[in-house]
Symmetry: C2
Amino acid sequence: MLHQKPAHDQTAMPDYAPHSHPHPSARDLIAAHGGRVTRTRIAVIETLQAAQHPLSHDEIGAALAAADIAHDRVTLYRALDWLVEQGIAQRIAGGERAWRFEIRHDGAHRHAHFHCDRCGQILCLEEVPTETSPALPAGFELDRTELVLHGACADCGRQGAKAGTR
Amino acid sequence: MLHQKPAHDQTAMPDYAPHSHPHPSARDLIAAHGGRVTRTRIAVIETLQAAQHPLSHDEIGAALAAADIAHDRVTLYRALDWLVEQGIAQRIAGGERAWRFEIRHDGAHRHAHFHCDRCGQILCLEEVPTETSPALPAGFELDRTELVLHGACADCGRQGAKAGTR
DNA sequence: ATTCAAATGCTACAATGTTGCATCAAAAGC
DNA sequence: GCTTTTGATGCAACATTGTAGCATTTGAAT
Ligand SMILES: [Mn+2]
Ligand SMILES: [Mn+2]
Ligand SMILES: [Zn+2]
Ligand SMILES: [Zn+2]
């Protein structure tokens, strides 16, 4: 239930702008998709909207706790499942075998991510668009493309040049 | 310990060509990296070399079992860890929160993957190169890029057009 | 205020991966 | 070949991440 990496600590909803474009109100989003407007869903959406990088279930849970919003693990999993089903959020297979979530951007605003294979940090690369569709085998339908750049972040690169790849 | 998807069943080392280019001998590869040549490592490498798509720990374990190579779960995890550390194999964050592994191709032969979000199938897209490096923040080092196309495979697309996104 | 499906909160469980430590065996030295 | 050394293995116990079932609560429609 606790953060392992105090570096990315990102608890209660911050006040800086998210991905540099405005976001619709959480209540409206939920209602527009025919869901019930609950404290948990509102807080999850607002947390994701405010985040500068995709958040893990654990990180989102910490944000809810910091905002004094009672919830249990399973409820949060289900809220996230619902957001993904609705296309409001998307799952990203970040490194550490735990999903990460972020608001799903449409068309122009989609972007790639950088994943540090040493410390696990994930960074949104706003400038790098995810490449558009190449030829797929017959019958295959493309939904979205995910581009992840792997390597070492500035912090990890500086120290131990030859640490574990993992 | 059993396969869930008989469709991708890929047990004992098959005899067809892998990614359509030849592979170095497993023993040589291991020795060249200063590791001990053990049955487990040899079999894991040969299994990966023969595979047409990235394999999960479970699938590789099944292949070892089919080849009558005794091993335990942890040993296999460690063999795979070692291959990744050495840069012989690479981990791919396939959907189902389980790593998938494949031989790491160099330069020209790197390719993208297609992931079916309905049935979980993963396909190597030999023709689609992973895009080359864009601008990264100062100090960041790029190791490799991972391009995953998400959508529905031919089988899944045909049936239920509007199933679960997940 | 009443109604009722949609969300929630437990508890119990499954799947995937990790750690510690005793034992085994690959390969190097003799 | 025999011994030695240390990397690799096997086993047991544990951690993390995510799911399923079911009783209870609550959003929102009437
Ligand atoms: Mn992002
Ligand atoms: Mn591949
Ligand atoms: Zn890092
Ligand atoms: Zn499919």
